[in-house]
């Protein structure tokens, strides 16, 4: 192979060298945009410029799936084959396309991908930084510019507070945002002392919307009181839970609401810098957020950097995300210490999900009391639900906490599609659990779902009709975790692989006595002993399926032997 022309890299090293290691992911993205992949001469040049040990640059390249340490073809077709897209025919589309672009045939590499976060438009693909929904490859498999639709958000629901300015098929500009009262909350917040804002957010009862539901006010207080300077605020936009797309819609269509939430948070805890970290599979959200941060500079001094991930679900875990910003492999850290005392660069940090930050301006505008008028006593406020799968109208629904699952699916999402009956609902994606049809009247609040043994998580609701093969769904979820385990701790590194292998074997009908006990042992070992939330939830969907449908994997398929 020809040696790459290293002189092309000069502008990249000139831009990023002064920043050092934290610029590693941005520099690798920039280099890959030039060469198409990352040859070792290029990696060595970047290592020298940024002052990072050679082998650690390689370790980083190898960790993130969107960095290519080996040559790829000119075009890379990334096709989602996770459950929601698979139910919409993605596997068939993938097979057709992969056959067409068989190795060596044309200048295209075809890659299977985890969920691309475009689930309301399944099946979906990512081709050279362009997102596609309703993918319809021509029968000969060639992918061209007209393969599908550009997937914008489809917001709806009983409320339109967080999504008030979404649904226009384009981002909201600064002028529009301000014309609708935008940044007024920031002005109000700047005039109030931090203690006051912290008290307001605590009183609002806001808890994190990324899945862990930690009280936001307590986070603020912790970071505010922590010793250490500078302090940071980080927006977690690594939305990669299969079935989740709410943060994508917010970032692509109303970016200033997130920036305003981030700026208020920074003021409240005394942070001097903010980061917005967006998953690598969201190129449009990245462009929109970057442009919006530039726009916002015209009205207030913004020290916000927008960063891109590079294909690693694990970076949704807050400490793994810090590692990525620091230019390292996205390994989650041991907690404690917690981010509020030792977060990004070891400094006090508040890290919040995109939707959480979008709630902040609302709380300041309405006041805690006004905010609490929405939702339930214990789960106040609005909530976004990502509804996908076998419903008439997949989309993003904003509702007050406390409506029923039935209302969400039957009234808002239009009920079941194609006249088929409901089999079950996967709540909270791959890391979630199944709800059976007799649970449709459960109210969607933290307290009601907890009582029903269901997770609310980040608000993912995947609806499966009666014809769906649950074994196929479970195999795909297991494959997702096996692909996305970072490999740091033993239970998850080997457990996710074993779980996937065993489920694949069972789905193929090759059953052995003791399989269920083995799955339970592996599942509970990951749940009890994994280092971070990925491993701790890698078996929850399977364990809930085994509880609901014990015959699913029984040797006799539930029939008498």
């Amino acid at each position: 192979m020809e040696n790459p022309d290293i002189s092309l890299l000069a502008p990249v090293t000139a831009e990023y060298a002064p920043l050092g290691r934290t610029a590693l992911l941005p520099a690798l993205h920039a280099a890959q945009a030039i060469y198409g992949w990352l040859p070792q001469e290029v990696a060595a040049e970047i290592a020298a410029a940024l002052g990072v040990p050679l082998v650690e640059v390689f370790g980083v390249i190898e960790f993130y799936k969107l960095f290519y340490p080996r040559p790829v073809r000119k075009t890379v077709d990334i096709i989602c084959t996770d459950p929601v897209c698979a139910m919409a025919g993605a596997q068939e589309a993938y097979n057709v396309i992969a056959r067409h672009y068989k190795p060596g045939a044309l200048d295209v590499t075809v890659q299977r991908s985890p969920c691309l976060g475009l689930c309301e438009h399944a099946p979906t693909a990512l081709v050279q930084e362009k997102q596609f929904g309703e993918l319809h490859p021509r029968m000969d498999g060639a992918l061209t510019d007209d393969i599908g639709l550009t997937p914008f958000g489809v917001p709806g629901g009983d409320l339109r507070l967080l999504t008030a300015l979404c649904g226009k098929n384009r981002p909201t500009s600064l002028v529009e945002y301000r014309a609708n009262g935008g940044y007024e909350a920031l002005v109000k917040a700047f005039a109030r002392p931090p203690e006051d804002l912290i008290a307001e957010v605590k009183a609002s009862g806001l808890v994190g919307r990324g899945g862990a539901a930690f009280p936001t006010g307590a986070k603020w207080e912790g970071a505010y009181r922590a010793n250490g300077q500078p302090k940071y605020v980080v927006c977690n936009g690594e939305e990669a839970e299969p079935g989740a797309f709410k943060d994508r819609v917010l970032m692509e269509e109303d970016p200033h609401r997130i920036i305003e939430g981030l700026a208020i948070t920074a003021h409240a805890i005394g942070a001097s810098k903010g980061y917005i970290f967006i998953r690598g599979e969201y190129p449009r959200a990245y462009q929109v957020m970057r442009a919006a941060v530039e726009e916002a500079r015209s009205i207030f001094p913004v020290e916000i950097e927008v960063r891109r991930g590079a294909g690693a679900y694990i970076c949704g875990e807050e400490t793994a995300l810090f590692e990525a910003i620091e230019g390292k492999r996205g390994f989650p850290r041991i907690k404690p210490p917690f981010p509020t005392t030792a977060g990004l660069f070891g400094k006090p940090t508040v890290i919040s999900n995109v939707e959480t930050l979008a709630n902040i301006p609302l709380i300041i505008t309405l006041g805690a009391d006004g905010y609490r008028r929405y939702g339930t006593e214990k789960s106040p406020g609005p909530k976004l639900f990502c509804v996908s799968g076998d419903v008439m109208k997949p989309g993003l629904y904003e509702v007050p906490f406390g409506i029923t699952l039935r209302h969400l699916i039957e009234d808002l999402a239009g009920g079941m599609r194609d006249g088929k009956g409901l089999q079950c609902v996967l709540m909270d994606g791959a890391a979630g659990a199944f709800a059976s049809p007799d649970q449709l009247d459960v109210r969607l609040s933290f307290e009601d779902l907890r009582a029903a043994g269901l997770p609310l998580g980040s608000g993912v609701v995947t609806v499966l009709n009666e014809t769906r093969d649950l074994r196929d769904v479970l195999v795909r979820l297991a494959r997702f975790f096996a692909d996305e385990s970072c490999g740091k701790c033993t239970p998850c590194r080997i457990g996710t692989r074993r779980q996937y292998e065993i489920l694949e074997r069972l789905a193929a009908g090759q059953r052995r006595p003791g399989d269920l006990e083995l799955l339970q042992d592996i599942g509970w070992t990951m749940t009890d002993a994994s280092l971070c939330g990925l491993g701790q939830t890698a078996a929850t969907a399977l364990i809930s399926a085994l509880r609901l449908w014990p015959v699913l994997f029984s040797p006799t398929d539930g029939k008498e032997p």
Binding site: Q40, A43, A44, P53, L54, V55, E56, V57, F58, G59, E62, F63, P69, A312, R329, I334, A482, D483, E484, S485, C486, G487, K488, C489, T490, P491, R493, I494, G495, T496, R497, R498, E501, I502, R505, G514, L518, D521, I522, W524, T525, D528, A529, S530, L531, Q536
Partner: protein, 246 residues
């Protein structure tokens, strides 16, 4: 000297200094907790999870190698939940990695009645042996990814940064820059990585050749030639490797 703290481990009250870990506290009273990635010379990163224990009031199991002993803490080191985790981890390790030269892990496997037949047909990690330098061989089919070699090669001891990781998840391997031979890496042959390897994945070349059945004379000749070849190739990369005389 700060006040000692008291905690209960398996119904025994123990007093330790406030900085002590649960593992240290347990060791103090003769309770053996199995470990794998833990080594007194490296930073504990709590990744093997063999040393987890149950702490009352805590949802998940706690890695005792890094968790501080807390005043009034009630710790159980061999509950059914803990036993299941340890047995499963050991089984899963044995199902993917060659542990034949890891006596400590073998002992744990006996202690926890490990049955690896449950995992028959599962994929093992079997990369080829890397024999690319005169000093040591790397047999990553035996690697349990305890990270100790990477740690001592970096900030825990040597600051050499010859090795890190390739791949991720189950596919993770210890690797040089773009899998280049060790001679082309920054390795200084300090031998620290061999010293901390718990499974003989890293082994001195001469020991390995002895096991292959070579005589001492043959071994000395082989490694001598290799060393000279390496030196001359370092000086002049275009030189031809020297051949062993038949």
């Amino acid at each position: 000297m700060s006040e000692p703290i008291f905690l209960t481990i398996d119904d025994t009250v123990v007093s330790v200094e406030p900085e002590a870990t649960i593992l240290q506290a347990a060791t103090r009273i003769g309770i053996r907790i199995p470990t794998m990635c833990y080594h007194k010379a490296t930073t504990s990163c709590a990744i093997c999870r063999l040393c987890v224990v149950e702490v009352e009031g805590s949802r998940a199991l706690i890695p005792s190698c890094v968790a501080s002993a807390g005043p009034g803490m009630v710790v159980h080191t061999r509950t059914a939940r803990v036993e299941r985790v340890r047995r499963t981890i050991l089984e899963m390790l044995a199902s993917s990695i060659d542990l034949s030269e890891a006596p400590e892990l073998q002992a744990h496997m006996r202690d926890y009645s490990v049955d690896i037949t449950r995992y028959s047909g599962c994929q093992r990690r079997c990369p080829p042996i890397l024999d690319d330098n005169p000093m040591y061989i790397r047999d990553y089919a035996k690697c349990v990814l305890c990270w100790r070699c990477v740690q001592v090669c970096a900030e825990d001891a040597q600051y050499t940064y010859a090795i890190n990781f390739s791949g991720r998840g189950f596919e993770t391997l210890i690797s040089t820059f773009y899998d280049r031979p060790i001679m082309e890496s920054t390795c200084v042959f300090c031998g620290q990585c061999l010293g901390v390897c718990p499974t003989n994945a890293l082994k001195p070349k001469r020991e390995w050749l002895l096991e292959q059945g070579q005589s001492l004379d043959e071994i000395i000749e082989t490694t001598r030639i290799e060393k000279r070849t390496c030196m001359s190739r370092l000086a002049d990369p275009s030189s031809e490797p020297e051949r062993k005389q038949p």
